[in-house]
Symmetry: C2
Subunit: 199 residues, 2 copies
């Protein structure tokens, strides 16, 4: 990697970190792009070359964690049972969160304070359901059933979402590993009722 790329990578990180700090200090809406650019010592025009939008600055942190999770899933061989491969996804998320608790709690506080930001998160979640569904569809257990793959993917993302949300809502007071175990145990022992007409 040349000097140029190194420098750009450093700039990229620095911008996001600077933005994060400002968001924590003054809130998302209370921070302008100009302020972030000034604090990161770049022009606003340059900032936009690194991040497509103000939202992207925040979402990038979550995105990194999901990238790791997706890689963990793809690393599983086809021989591994689907349930086990899916666990790798959950496990990866759990590890990411455990390793960055303070940071992520602050991040979720920003999300909570800023209703408009939820959309960005939800959008990320949506696109990841699509990606995960595609991956699952490739697995033998899916038997080529796209509907099944989509449902499994959605269900897995649900668990992650519910767990992370519960964790964040507890202010990090509850161990994420406990919530995860409880959720999975629940799914195993108390089956989710499937909507069905009377009779």
């Amino acid at each position: 990697m040349g000097l140029r790329e190194t420098k750009m990578e450093r700039t990229r990180r620095f911008i996001a970190d600077t933005a994060f700090d400002l968001f924590v200090a003054h809130g998302y809406d209370g921070t302008t792009i100009e302020q972030i650019a000034a604090a990161a010592e770049v022009g606003t025009r340059t900032l936009y070359r690194y991040y497509a939008s103000k939202e992207a600055l925040v979402v990038s942190f979550v995105e990194n964690g999901l990238n790791a999770a997706m890689e963990a899933f793809e690393a599983q061989s086809d021989e591994t049972p689907l349930s086990e491969a899916l666990y790798a996804v959950i496990d990866s998320v759990e590890q990411t969160i455990t390793a960055n608790q303070a940071r992520l709690l602050a991040l979720y506080e920003i999300f909570d304070r800023t209703t408009g930001l939820r959309a960005g998160l939800a959008d990320l979640d949506w696109s990841w359901r699509q990606k995960l569904a595609q991956q699952i569809l490739r697995r033998p257990e899916a038997e080529g059933n796209a509907l099944f793959a989509a449902l499994v993917a959605a269900n897995t993302m649900n668990v992650i979402e519910v767990v992370v949300h519960t964790w964040a809502a507890s202010g990090g007071g509850v161990k994420i590993a406990d919530i995860t175990r409880e959720s999975l145990e629940l799914l195993r022992t108390k089956p989710i009722p499937v909507p069905a007409p009377a009779g």
Copy 2:
């Protein structure tokens, strides 16, 4: 209802309908708020008193359908089994879509063409998971377990989402009732694998 409220309600509808037509004709990004306001014969400032944002204009259509679904759920008595009550939700969505096929297909085409709009939809979806979870939590079957309620709510919204998305992707070629039946059948006969560690 007085004349004033009637008039306002009419204006509200007219604005959304006008916006919808313009979006279909020129695309979401290709339509400015000023154009919508002009076509709806109101000032832009007035338009913003009816709809909080440009996005809200589009999302309102989906929101109406979800409102009906939530009411259908709340109308179920506590004696009704949860699976049956949840079916009422699915059924309501199915009916809404069946009754407005052409309109909704056009709507989803707008969503597809405009990546930035997905966020708004996803956000709506997210807030509805919360609301539905709260409702489910009140039911006896939930036994006060918030985690369970959240998982059930998420699962139900998944079904709706997957079904509607599949339907929209087929361009309305497949009957929504068929996709629904197939999805529910799938969930009943081929259980979703729960992530579990090896062993």
